[in-house]
């Protein structure tokens, strides 16, 4: 096989062709039709359900549409309206807060859990599984569990009562001041195990010789963390960051099943506002415009993720 490749190549190309740069010998150069179909069929499936709808979504953002009569083109009116829409501004603020708090805490706590549970010792598998188990729960089931905890006569209030902090009793989900944070806790409960798994894998990839060398140089535990572990985790950090930002902007199930964005939009995120605007108020054009805002926010992260993926896919 390699012989024929060498023999036929000079016939077609210039004599003594320079080997094509970066090309690796990965099978035949002519693509069989079957292989072409292998790629095109999935691509068409994705085009039908993702690319084509996405393009339509961008167009619908420029229209006013009730879903029944034909959409009317209104240009950038939807986006102008947002500037005066208090619920939109609140939802944006909550989304940013969600990104920082939910994202930041799940990264920090996930890393902390990974540092504790990275070593292979007896029983560590059980601890990891315990932290990881909520990841496989649906967010809806998760939300219901926590609703039982947050009820006015629920577990949290009973607990506060029993330790003498009865004056902290609260209708956690019905209070505008606490609803957003109360919703965030179950989301974190579920996310931390996921982030932990990513970090445990990253920590296992670090060469132990680096720690030995640092120890010989007299570095303490904190210095080893600061100067060996964290720099070595840089690529995992990039992944975790992307996962967290994308998950934050997509966060929907847990809020929807706990509060639907209420009370009085106090736990409204852009994703829940978009959904209720489009499918409950039936303002499909404005809903699409909100989706475009979510897209733009996610775009920066996606870009950086893609650039990294591009480099590694090569």
């Amino acid at each position: 096989m390699p012989d024929t490749a060498v023999l036929t190549a000079p016939d077609r190309e210039a004599p003594a062709p320079p080997p094509p740069r970066g090309r690796r010998n990965r099978g035949p150069r002519r693509t069989p039709p079957l292989v072409l179909a292998f790629v095109l069929v999935p691509l068409l499936a994705e085009a039908l359900w993702v690319f084509w709808p996405a393009l339509q979504g961008f167009y619908l953002a420029l229209t006013s549409w009730d879903g029944v009569s034909a959409p009317t083109f209104v240009g950038l009116d939807n986006f102008r309206e947002m500037a005066h829409d208090d619920v939109f501004l609140d939802a944006t603020g909550h989304t940013v807060l969600w990104l920082l708090l939910f994202g930041g805490l799940s990264a920090v706590l996930g890393l902390a859990a990974a540092l504790v549970l990275q070593q292979e010792r007896r029983g560590v598998g059980f601890y990891r599984a315990a932290l990881f188990l909520p990841v496989v729960f649906s967010l809806v089931a998760t939300a219901l569990v926590w609703q039982a905890i947050y009820q006015p006569d629920g577990v949290l209030n009973q607990l506060l009562e029993s330790v003498g902090l009865g004056n902290l009793r609260h209708a956690w989900l019905a209070d505008q001041d606490t609803a957003l944070y109360a919703v965030m806790v179950p989301a974190l409960w579920r996310q931390i195990g996921y982030v932990m798994v990513l970090y445990v894998a990253g920590l296992k990839g670090i060469d132990p010789a680096l720690y030995e060398a640092a120890k010989v140089d007299g570095a303490g535990a904190w210095q080893r963390l600061r100067h060996v572990t964290l720099p070595q985790l840089r690529s995992v950090n990039a992944v975790v960051l992307s996962v967290i930002v994308i998950d934050s902007l997509r966060s929907f199930d847990v809020v929807w099943s706990l509060t639907r964005g209420g009370p009085y939009h106090s736990s409204e995120l852009l994703s829940t506002y978009m959904y209720s605007t489009a499918f409950q108020s039936l303002r499909l054009g404005y809903g699409s415009a909100l989706a475009v805002v979510i897209f733009v926010l996610a775009f920066g992260v996606i870009c950086s993720y893609l650039v990294r993926a591009f480099r590694e896919a090569d």
Binding site: V39, A45, V136, S138, W189, L284, E312
Partner: protein
């Protein structure tokens, strides 16, 4: 055997007190580790234990003593109520009717595309790969309205095939990306040998590459099973009738139907969580590998 051991015993006894201190310190560290990690694990499992216990209590018990009290009753009736009257049985069947075909078709399509893109010099193969991944990274919100309209246009709105279709279309990009990374690491010589033996692309795919990709496929199936099974957003976008809703949406319905009857709601949550927990416990290793596979690539 005995001769080499003599010097080591001697040196051990000379540093006896030092090693004893080290041993004690190591024991203390181990105890501390288990104490800390154990507390964390208990804290994490507590909400799950709460649901399990609540699902086995009677309504009167909860009403009289509160959710947080020690259980004073035991009944399996809540499961029957959620299962039959609450419509969980139908919902679970719906979920499986969507999840199983969606997982199988998505992985089959993704494996095919990944094979083509990783083993052949297709034009624009890198751009195609990134385009497909990019589609999966789009926030689904931008797709909701057009997808619901598209399913109406295709005449499959409010049917399970619509949900299967959108799960396939939206998921395929990510799996192509992961499988592509995996298939690329298979040495080209294996394929070349098969070509010399006269194998066509289908045989190469089916007999050589696919078997070698099995670990990645196992990991991705465990992962995608839980993702699709747990989805709520797509389901409530393309479905309308209560009888067609998957278990996640049905669980929200159950909550409206049995307001503050936490025993039934808890039983419903247990039913809804059981399949993914079973998959997780059975395929834990693959599952965790899958998350890393997706992320590290």
């Amino acid at each position: 055997m005995s001769a080499p051991s003599a010097p080591s015993t001697a040196s051990a006894s000379s540093t006896h007190s030092a090693s004893a201190t080290a041993l004690r310190r190591r024991r203390a560290a181990t105890a501390g580790f288990h104490l800390g990690a154990g507390t964390l694990a208990v804290l994490w499992l507590l909400p799950i234990a709460l649901v399990l216990v609540t699902s086995l209590r009677s309504f009167d018990d909860i009403a009289a003593h509160g959710l947080g009290s020690w259980p004073r009753s035991f009944t399996l009736g809540n499961f029957g109520q959620a299962w039959n009257d609450g419509g969980q049985q139908r919902a679970l069947i719906n979920s499986l009717l969507v999840t199983v075909p969606a997982v199988l078709v998505t992985l089959a399509l993704a494996a095919m595309a990944a094979f083509g893109l990783s083993r052949y010099d297709l034009p624009f193969r890198r751009s195609l790969l990134l385009l497909m991944l990019g589609g999966n990274l789009l926030p689904p919100q931008i797709l909701l309205i057009p997808v619901s309209k598209l399913s109406e246009l295709l005449g499959i709105y409010d049917t399970l095939p619509a949900l299967v279709g959108v799960q396939i279309g939206f998921g395929v990009g990510f799996y192509v990306f992961v499988l592509h990374g995996f298939m690329r690491s298979i040495p080209p010589e294996i394929q070349q040998a098969a070509v010399v033996d006269g194998a066509g692309p289908w045989q190469i795919f089916w007999r050589i590459i696919l078997p070698l990709t099995r670990p990645a496929l196992a990991a991705l199936s465990a992962l995608s099973f839980t993702w699709i099974f747990n989805d709520l957003l797509w389901a409530i976008t393309v479905l309308r009738s209560d009888t067609k809703m998957p278990i996640t949406a049905a669980l929200i319905g159950l909550q409206g139907q049995y307001v503050s009857m936490w025993n039934v709601i808890a039983a419903g949550s247990v039913i809804a969580a059981a399949p993914t927990v079973i998959v997780f416990l059975r395929f834990q290793r693959h599952f965790v590998a899958g998350l890393n596979l997706g992320a590290v690539k």
